[in-house]
């Protein structure tokens, strides 16, 4: 349980470890994209952590990294094919960021740092924790960006081909609120991630100074 909490708060991949920022900035234009990406990464992370912690003793150190990448790439390809078949709209929206999960620093980073060192149970738990942390972080960024930048919030739109359910809302009344469109642009993404990172770390440390 503590491992999971650790993954969400003290070692949150986006706000503390600063990993996987590329997909964070690009994907979080809609709330739906964010949590779907989060789920994808979590699934890949858990399975890859599990597999790697099972077999890491069998892999010679010199070929460690390439082998991990092969494992992760295989998982991502499976995920890609599944999404392509079952949820084509999401597949189109993600575009290149789906294959880029392979080189998402979180997965390879955790593989090298945790999965190859801890036992199977701990690795899996770590995968769950980090994955949830990543998903929550992405959801937070996407909420800010979409609500303030576009005046909508999308719970389910592209997935509707899968679930048959659509849910998009306008948040503020249109006359009173002018959306800040720059938040949807990449510059706004950096700004939002930066500000949320500052707030998150300030609350986490509770005002105490921490050397990096």
């Amino acid at each position: 349980m503590k491992t999971i909490q650790n993954g969400i708060i003290n070692e949150n991949p986006v706000f503390v470890l600063l990993l996987g920022l590329c997909s964070t900035l690009a994907i979080t234009t809609r709330f739906e994209n964010a949590y779907v990406m989060g789920i994808c990464v979590t699934v890949v992370l858990i399975v890859s952590n599990f597999i790697i912690s099972c077999i890491h003793k069998l892999i010679p150190t010199s070929v460690k990294t390439p082998v991990y990448i092969i494992i992760i790439a295989t998982l991502v390809t499976i995920l890609e094919l599944l999404l392509q078949y079952y949820a084509k709209d999401i597949y189109d929206v993600f575009g290149i960021y789906l294959p880029l999960i392979v080189v998402n620093c979180i997965i390879l980073g955790r593989a090298l740092a945790v999965a190859s060192k801890q036992n199977i149970w701990k690795s899996t738990l770590d995968g769950i924790g980090i994955g949830i942390g990543y998903t929550l972080a992405l959801m937070a960024v996407a909420t800010v960006r979409e609500v303030l930048g576009n005046n909508t919030i999308t719970f389910m739109d592209s997935l509707s081909t899968l679930t048959g359910y659509r849910s998009m809302y306008r948040v503020f009344p249109e006359n009173n609120f002018i959306p800040m469109q720059f938040l949807v642009s990449p510059a706004g993404a950096f700004l939002v991630v930066g500000i949320l990172m500052a707030i998150f770390n300030a609350i986490r440390r509770g005002g105490k100074h921490e050397s990096n």
Partner: protein, 481 residues
């Protein structure tokens, strides 16, 4: 006798104080504030275009900026930095929070909604100043950061409420601010198209032209500049070299296109260049300290502004150049240190001259070919010949997209223009219709370039005018060979 051993000298100090320097800046701004009140409050009120609330609105607008900045800093100091009582008072006295807020109010358009102003002020204080550690530690000019946020986020809102033009100007002057006007002119323009719509160059100099709340009056900025230089408060090399470089470059550009000395004067007096150069670029915290570096800073600012004005359609030339050079201050300082050695100095001067020459030449040449090339915003969709008439279906880029029209030409003259499709804002297009602009176009088709556009719907009416001109030109080239 008390032991005063090892006190640190010197024991004679000058009477300079940071607070005195800031006071001088505030004093220098007072004439500008009064002028802004006159231009945006009193003049419209005299012409009965606004009520008593509109009379005092500029003063309120200018006052809100500094008040909100102080509040934001106070809240930040009290709750985030946990300063109390004397510490807090000392902090507030030495953070000089008033100035960024005041500057921000002065460089925003008059029709900025108050909520947007407050948003801009918060962004300016928080992201422009506090994030870096407060007064003295910021890299970027906070007022410019605030304006950047306001313009990128709320440009359309402000434009829809009237933009930069106050009520009097909306009524009398039919075009937008001088630099937006430049972007609608084909080619490099002439005295009649660039300057005359606003009066003459003296109007530009005193500031009776459309612009932001406080940045139009070059005369008052000059007065402030001399006052501040006399009081030894300002880094005078920066504005001198900034404005000088822009003047020289635009003079070269104008000379390449056969324009007289009014052209560089027009360029330096528009776009709020004087205000930006004298108050924003010389902000002590964000500008270089050594003499050579200040000269280089001014020159690079000038080059950047000219590049932004001529090679891009981005409207905020002065703002972007100043922010870019804020970022590059440490580079300029290093170059300035190298400048002290005679041989390196010559190399640097040569490089700068080459860059300036290159920029001027390229910008000048842009317009030399323009007269002959076709307007890229104009498109011929269809040509139909019916008996003795030629019916063109053409489109011209307007404000919101292409305006598609059917133009019927008979006996070498346009007899009918029918608008098939447009994406113009209904408010603006309504003005065009009310003025029966299309009838005017047909009536004045021999002298189309002299025809006025509709005030308040500049871009839409200009598009229609250009459509008529270009259709006629197309007809001439095809049929009158």
């Amino acid at each position: 006798m008390k032991d005063y051993h090892n006190l640190i000298g010197p024991f004679q100090k000058s009477k300079n104080k940071t607070s005195t320097m800031m006071k001088h800046v505030l004093i220098a701004l007072i004439p500008i504030i009064i002028f802004s009140f006159y231009k945006n409050g009193i003049v419209p009120y005299q012409h009965h275009l606004v009520d008593i609330w509109g009379l005092w609105y500029p003063i309120i607008f200018i006052a809100i900026g500094p008040i909100v900045t102080c509040l934001v800093e106070l809240i930040a100091a009290r709750f985030f930095l946990h300063k109390k009582n004397n510490d807090l008072k000392d902090y507030m006295q030495h953070s000089y929070a008033i100035l960024p807020g005041l500057f921000l109010s002065l460089i925003l358009p008059i029709h900025t909604p108050i909520s947007v102003l407050i948003f801009g002020v918060c962004m300016a204080t928080i992201i422009g100043k506090l994030v870096y550690g407060g007064f003295g530690n910021n890299i970027f000019n906070p007022a410019l950061i605030g304006r950047l946020f306001v313009i990128t986020t709320y440009a359309t809102v402000i434009a829809s409420k009237g933009g930069y033009l106050n009520s009097y100007e909306l009524d009398t002057i039919s075009k937008a601010t001088p630099l937006s006007n430049v972007s609608t002119i084909e080619g490099i323009g002439s005295y009649e198209t660039l300057v005359s719509p606003y009066g003459n160059l003296w109007n530009f100099f005193t500031g009776m032209i459309p612009g932001a709340v406080g940045e139009t009056s070059a005369l008052l900025c000059l007065v402030a500049f001399f006052y501040l230089t006399f009081q030894k408060v300002i880094k005078w090399r920066i504005p001198v070299f900034y404005i000088g470089t822009v003047w020289i470059l635009t003079m070269l550009i104008g000379w390449l296109n056969g324009l007289g000395i009014w052209y560089p004067t027009f360029q330096i007096l528009s776009g709020g260049l004087f205000f930006g150069a004298i108050f924003m670029a010389t902000d002590p915290v964000t500008s270089p300290v050594s003499k050579n570096a200040q000269i280089l800073d001014g020159i690079f600012l000038g080059i950047l502004t000219v590049v932004f004005r001529y090679f891009t359609s981005y409207p905020e030339g002065v703002l972007t150049s100043i922010l870019t050079m804020n970022m590059l201050v440490f580079v300029v300082e290093k170059i300035g240190l190298q400048c002290k050695q005679k041989d390196k100095r010559l190399v640097i001067i040569a490089v700068i001259l080459v860059i300036m020459g290159f920029v001027a030449y390229q910008a000048g040449r842009l317009y030399q070919n323009h007269g002959e090339s076709k307007d890229s915003n104009f498109e011929v969709i269809n040509v139909k010949k019916v008996e003795n008439q030629v019916i063109y279906t053409v489109s011209q880029k307007g404000n919101g997209g292409p305006i598609t029209c059917e133009v019927t030409i008979q006996n070498d003259k346009i007899i009918k223009i029918e608008v098939i499709d447009h994406n113009e804002t209904p408010n603006y297009y309504g003005l065009v219709e009310n003025q029966h602009y299309i009838e005017q176009l047909i009536k004045e088709q021999d002298n189309l370039s002299e025809l006025d556009t509709v005030s308040g719907a500049t871009i839409s009416s200009t598009a229609l005018k250009k459509l008529a001109i270009n259709t006629l030109q197309e007809y001439e080239e095809s049929y009158e060979k």
